[in-house]
């Protein structure tokens, strides 16, 4: 679906101490392949390059070195730009700053209108996409009257209206409260599992990364860990040293192993940890 080949990105910025322009290498030789239908989380702290990487997946940014292919199309090929953006839809962090229209359904219609879709078909897509994210009730509302979670679901619907095969979400929950976060994550999971949409989720929340099929950890513009969430999070020390969190129970298992207790390192959830502990503690006390 998405393939990067030695992707590098250099960006000019002002220096930390003075004001002179320096070149900063934000991404270094990234080689990454995202499979069709997969749910990949890209985890990293602010400034690790994860958002820059995401913006390469739909030709918002173009590589300064190497190549990015989306469905086989080269993102530097000017004729493919709109095809790429239609195939790989992108949702951004700030729910307020990505809405163009003053009414929810007009917002969802914006992308297909840009693509020149027939009015009747736009109507159908708008209704269907609002239904998908469970926002039909709010079709006539103004975005400013919605909660953060609802706004992000509208933003997702507004991208789905292009019929994309890939959904890229750049920290969609960073500005939301816990309720909004869980609404959005539930929606994303459903889109992947039920609609077969390939999902790339950029995040710094480990609990979201733990829900994915695959977690890619980025630090200083390079991929440092890549695998299933269990494979990745068992590197407790390493992840913490990168300024990221691991699930509390994973850390607990790690601490217990340090104390000489033989507990599996593959625990991510409370239930898994509980089951493991029962094995060790002998199936429950009386």
């Amino acid at each position: 679906m998405i393939k990067t080949k030695n992707l590098s990105f250099v960006y000019r910025k002002t220096d930390e101490d003075g004001g002179t322009a320096v070149e900063e290498e934000v991404l270094r030789e990234i080689n990454l392949t995202i499979e069709k239908g997969s749910f990949t989380a890209i985890l990293g702290h602010n400034g690790s390059g994860k958002s820059t990487l995401a913006k390469h997946f739909n030709a918002i940014l173009l590589p300064t070195g190497g190549k990015v292919y989306v469905k086989g199309m080269d993102t530097t090929d000017k004729d493919s730009v709109f095809n790429i953006r239609q195939s790989a839809g992108m949702v951004f962090q700030n729910p307020d700053n990505q809405m163009v229209a003053a009414i929810v359904e007009d917002e969802v219609a914006f992308a297909p209108e840009n693509l020149g879709v027939e009015p009747k078909e736009i109507r159908r897509r708008v209704d269907e996409c609002l239904e998908t994210v469970n926002m039909t009730k709010y079709a006539q509302s103004a975005p400013s009257n919605l909660s953060g979670g609802q706004k992000q679901r509208v933003a997702i619907a507004a991208v789905l209206a292009m019929n994309p095969e890939i959904l890229i979400l750049d920290e969609p929950t960073a500005m939301l409260d816990p309720k909004g976060r869980s609404e959005v994550i539930k929606t994303i999971k459903m889109l992947n599992r039920e609609k077969g949409i390939t999902v790339v989720l950029i995040t710094h929340y480990m609990d979201e990364a733990a829900l994915a099929d695959r977690t890619v950890v980025i630090d200083d513009g390079e991929i440092v860990l890549d695998g299933t969430p269990k494979d990745v999070f068992r590197n407790v020390e390493k992840i913490k040293s990168l300024g990221l969190d691991v699930p509390q129970v994973t850390e607990l298992a790690y601490e217990l192993r340090k104390k000489g207790i033989d507990i599996s390192e593959d625990v991510l959830t409370v239930d898994e940890c509980f089951a493991e502990l029962l094995k060790i503690l002998g199936g429950g006390a009386t």
Binding site: N58, I60, F82, R85, Q86, G89, M90, F92, N94, D96, N97, Q98, M99, V100, A101, A102, I103, E105, D106, A109, F110, A111, P112, E113, N114, L115, G116, V117, E118, P119, I122, R123, V126, Q140, A142, P143, S144, A158, V159, M162
Partner: protein
């Protein structure tokens, strides 16, 4: 404050006014305003009032909402009315000499003051009725359509409409933000309420600078988000809500022209 501005506030509904073709509605609103400026005699005012009241009733927009839009303009009303009351020469009914100057109220002045206030009230009600029954998107689409012939002389009709859409969308967001920054600076001891004009203008800096920075950040984000959804200007764009003229619109044209004719006849023939 900003929250009270009714222009851009849309009240969804299914009245004939809501269903009208937006470009036509704009033209008829312009007609309404034009006629309003010819109205002067009591008879034509009466007819015009009946017409306006009928429009309000048909629209189904609560009177309360309509009057909310008038409220921020109240001081303009009072100012114009007073200016007219005191400045119009004619038959003096009350006077007060102040030094070399005499403050006087005339019959004609009183009439002019009332006329001016009523005219302004109807002007705001008419335009509010347009924005309250037309969704912002329909409104800007309507303007885009009306401006389209001007594209030939390089008037960027689509861009103007897009700018208006975005402005309408961001008014509530920026109003909220203004309120937030104001509170934050107040908590740091900023004083927006007291002092002379220069002091107050200076006190606005801690409010305006963050507001501008935030507006630029939002603009940057929005541009990226629009680009990501394949926005490419007005060419080859379609519309979900393609509206066309219907029998209803023909009726509206006939009724509006008739009403305008009756009012103008009453004005110039009596």
């Amino acid at each position: 404050m900003l929250k009270d501005i009714t222009i851009g506030q849309y009240i969804p509904g299914s009245s004939p006014l809501h269903k009208m073709h937006a470009p036509l509605k704009i033209i008829l609103t312009i007609l309404y305003i034009t006629v309003l400026f010819f109205v002067d005699s009591p008879v034509s005012y009466a007819i015009f009032t009946v017409y306006t009241v009928a429009l309000v009733l048909i629209s189904g927009v609560p009177l309360k909402v309509l009057l909310r839009g008038v409220k921020p303009m109240l001081w303009i009303f009072i100012f114009t009315a007073i200016l007219n009351v005191f400045m119009t020469p004619g038959e003096i009914i009350w006077s007060l000499p102040i030094f070399r100057f005499t403050l006087k109220i005339t019959n004609e002045g009183l009439a002019a003051g009332v006329t001016m206030a009523v005219r302004l009230l109807y002007l705001i009600m008419g335009t509010s009725l347009l924005t309250l029954t037309t969704s912002p998107l329909q409104l800007t689409d309507g303007i885009e359509k009306l401006l389209k012939p001007l594209r030939k002389i390089k008037v960027p009709s689509h861009e103007i409409a897009m700018m208006m859409t975005i402005a309408i969308r961001f008014i509530p967001t920026l109003a909220e933000e203004t309120d937030k920054i104001k509170k934050a600076q107040t908590a740091r001891g900023a004083d927006f309420e007291t002092g002379n004009i220069i002091k107050r203008a200076k006190a606005m800096i801690p409010l305006l600078v963050p507001l501008f920075i935030s507006a630029f950040r939002r603009a940057d984000d929005l541009a990226t988000a629009m680009e990501a959804r394949c926005y490419n200007g007005g060419d080859n764009r379609t519309r979900m809500k393609e509206s066309h003229m219907t029998a209803l619109d023909v009726k509206a044209i006939v009724i509006s022209i008739l009403a305008a004719a009756v009012v103008l006849l009453a004005e110039f023939w009596t």
